[in-house]
C-alpha cells in the first residue's frame, strides 16, 4: 500500500514536469522555458551560491515578521478567547482583517515606513497575524466544556484550568493556525519583495524577467514554492507528532 502511494506521487510529479518540459519545447510562449532549462538554472544558482545570498535576504523579514505575529497573535488570541469584554472590543478588527485584502495597505506602509526592512516586516505581520489570532481565540473558546467542568469538580483553580486544560486543549488548533500564518507570511514576504523593493528572491525574479532570462526566473519561483512547501510540511509533521490522538479521546465512540 505504501508502495502504491509513493509510486503514484512519483508518477504524478513525472506527469506534471513532463508536461512542463513538452510545453517548453513546443514552445507555448517565448517566455516559457523547459523544465530542464529551469532546473539547470536552479543548479547554476545553487552552485555559485547566489540563491543562498538571496534567501538570506528574503528570510530576514519573513522570520522576523512570523516571530512577531506568533508572539503577539497567540497573546491576543488567548486574551480574546478568555475575556468576553476583550472579544467584543478586538475580535471585529481581526475578523475584518481576515476577510479584507490587506495587501492594499502596502502603498501606505511604504509611505510611512519607507522601502526598508520595517515595511517588509509589517507586510508579513499583517498577512500572518489575523489567522493566528482568530484560530487561537476560537480554540480557547471551544475548549470542551466538560473538561473544564471536570477540572472544576476536582477543585481546580482558574490558573490550573488555563494551564492544564485550556492551553493543552487549544494547542493543536493554535499550531495549525500558526501553520496558516506561516503560509500567509510567505505570501507577504514575496509580495513585499516584488512590490516594495526587489531584494532577495524577489530581486532574482524581477531582474531575470527584465533581462528575459526566463529559466532563472522560473527557477527562483520554483525554489521559493519548494521552500515554502517543505517548511510547511515540516510543521505539519511536527504537529502530527506533538498532538497525536489529541483531537480524539474525549468523544465517545
Amino acid at each position: 500500500m505504501k508502495h502504491r502511494s509513493l509510486l503514484l506521487k512519483v508518477l504524478s510529479a513525472l506527469l506534471v514536469f513532463g508536461a512542463w518540459e513538452i510545453a517548453g519545447r513546443i514552445p507555448v510562449s517565448y517566455a516559457f522555458p523547459t523544465f530542464i532549462e529551469s532546473m539547470t538554472a536552479l543548479a547554476r544558482m545553487t552552485f555559485d551560491g547566489s540563491i543562498f545570498v538571496a534567501y538570506a535576504e528574503t528570510l530576514k523579514p519573513l522570520i522576523t515578521g512570523v516571530a512577531i505575529s506568533t508572539v503577539l497573535g497567540i497573546g491576543f488570541g488567548l486574551w480574546i478567547g478568555l475575556s468576553t469584554r476583550f472579544e467584543w472590543l478586538f475580535s471585529p478588527i481581526f475578523i475584518v482583517m481576515q476577510a479584507a485584502p490587506l495587501a492594499a495597505l502596502i502603498p501606505l506602509l511604504v509611505m510611512v515606513y519607507g522601502i526598508g526592512l520595517t515595511s517588509k516586516v509589517f507586510v508579513v505581520c499583517i498577512m500572518s497575524m489575523p489567522v493566528i489570532v482568530l484560530s487561537t481565540s476560537s480554540a480557547v473558546r471551544n475548549t470542551p466544556a466538560s473538561m473544564k467542568e471536570m477540572a472544576k469538580s476536582f477543585l481546580a483553580k482558574d490558573r490550573h484550568i488555563l494551564l492544564k486544560i485550556i492551553i493543552p486543549a487549544a494547542s493543536p488548533v493554535i499550531f495549525s493556525g500558526l501553520r496558516l500564518g506561516v503560509s500567509a507570511g510567505f505570501i507577504g514576504a514575496i509580495l513585499a519583495e516584488l512590490k516594495i523593493t526587489p531584494t532577495g528572491v524577489g530581486d532574482i525574479i524581477s531582474y531575470s524577467r527584465s533581462i528575459a532570462d526566463y529559466p532563472s526566473m522560473y527557477a527562483a519561483i520554483f525554489s521559493i514554492i519548494l521552500l515554502a512547501v517543505l517548511f510547511l510540511n515540516l510543521l505539519e509533521k511536527t504537529e502530527n507528532i506533538l498532538f497525536k490522538g489529541n483531537d480524539r479521546g474525549y468523544v465517545s465512540d
Binding site: 471536570m150 476536582f154 477543585l155 493543552p168 486543549a169 489529541n246 479521546g249 465517545s252
Partner: protein, 268 residues
C-alpha cells in the same frame, strides 16, 4: 480522611439521627423562563446507591451538577455531611457522561489528575492512582492514552479518577450511556460490588429503567414540566440470589413495569 474532632463528632451525630449523606432542600433552578427544577427536596442515605431516573428534560443532570457545586441553585440548599454546599468540594467526586478525560495525558496522569490539582506530590499520587487503576481492572494500561482505549475502558479511567480523590460521595452522570450494552452490564455488576465494598454514597443519574432497578437501593423518579420528585421507590431486591437471577426475579420485573407505567405518559 482528615477531620477535626468537632467535625467528626458532628458527622457522627448526623449519622445517628438519620444517616443522610446528602440532603437536597427546596432547590429551584430556572434557565431564563424554563423551570429546570422546582422546589425539589430529596434525601440520599449514606452508603447507598440512589438513582435519579426520569425522561429527558426532568432536570436530573441539573440536580446532579447542583449537588456537585458546578451549578448554583436559585433557591434552596444542598447539605453534604451536615454542611451546606457552596461550590465543588473534596467530599464529592464526579463521573462524567462523556468521560472528560484529557486526551493529551496518559491513563496514569488522568487518574491522578484530581490529586494533581490538590497539590499532592507526584510519587504519592501515582502510588494511589496505580492502586485504583488496578481496582478498576486497567492494570497494564497506565501508559496508554485515551484514544487507544475503548469507550468502556475510558469510563473505567473516569471512575478510577473519581475514586482516587477519596471523596465519600460519588456523583455519576449517566456514566454508562456511551458504552455498549455488554460492557454496560459488566459495569453495573462492578458498580454493585463497589457500593458493597466501599463505604461511599452513590448518586447515579440514568435514563434506563432496568439499570436503575438493577443497581439501586433507592430510586427517585423525577417527572418533567414542572420538574418534581414523583415517587421514591426502594426496590429491596434480594441481591443474594446472584447477579444472574436478579433480572428474572418477579419483584425486579414488577418494579420495572410499575416505573414504566408512571413514565410512559411523558415519553414523546
Amino acid at each position: 480522611m482528615v477531620m477535626s474532632q468537632t467535625e467528626s463528632a458532628f458527622a457522627d451525630a448526623q449519622s445517628l439521627e438519620q444517616d443522610i449523606a446528602v440532603s437536597v432542600q427546596g432547590v429551584s433552578k430556572n434557565y431564563g423562563a424554563v423551570e429546570a427544577l422546582k422546589n425539589m427536596s430529596l434525601d440520599f442515605p449514606r452508603g447507598q446507591l440512589t438513582s435519579l431516573l426520569g425522561p429527558s428534560g426532568c432536570g436530573k443532570t441539573t440536580l446532579l451538577k447542583i449537588i456537585a457545586g458546578l451549578l448554583k441553585s436559585d433557591t434552596g440548599k444542598i447539605i453534604v455531611n451536615g454542611k451546606p454546599v457552596t461550590g465543588p468540594g473534596p467530599n464529592r467526586a464526579f463521573v462524567f457522561q462523556d468521560f472528560a478525560l484529557l486526551p493529551w495525558a496518559s491513563v496514569m496522569r488522568n487518574v491522578a489528575f484530581g490529586l494533581e490539582l490538590r497539590g499532592v506530590a507526584k510519587s504519592e499520587r501515582e502510588d494511589k492512582a496505580a492502586k485504583y487503576i488496578n481496582d478498576v481492572g486497567l492494570a497494564g494500561f497506565e501508559g496508554a492514552y485515551p484514544h487507544e482505549l475503548s469507550g468502556g475502558m475510558r469510563q473505567r479511567v473516569g471512575l478510577a479518577r473519581a475514586l482516587s480523590v477519596d471523596a465519600n460521595v460519588l456523583l455519576l452522570d449517566e456514566p454508562f450511556s456511551a458504552v455498549d450494552e455488554q460492557t454496560r452490564r459488566k459495569f453495573q455488576e462492578d458498580l454493585l460490588a463497589l457500593v458493597a465494598n466501599e463505604n461511599k454514597t452513590f448518586i447515579f443519574v440514568t435514563h434506563s429503567i432496568e439499570e436503575a432497578v438493577y443497581c439501586s437501593d433507592q430510586i427517585a423518579l423525577l417527572l418533567p414540566r414542572p420538574s418534581r420528585v414523583h415517587e421514591i421507590i426502594r426496590p429491596n431486591i434480594n441481591r443474594a440470589i446472584g447477579v444472574e437471577s436478579i433480572r428474572r426475579a418477579p419483584e425486579y420485573l414488577d418494579i420495572v413495569d410499575q416505573i414504566w407505567a408512571s413514565l410512559r405518559a411523558y415519553v414523546e
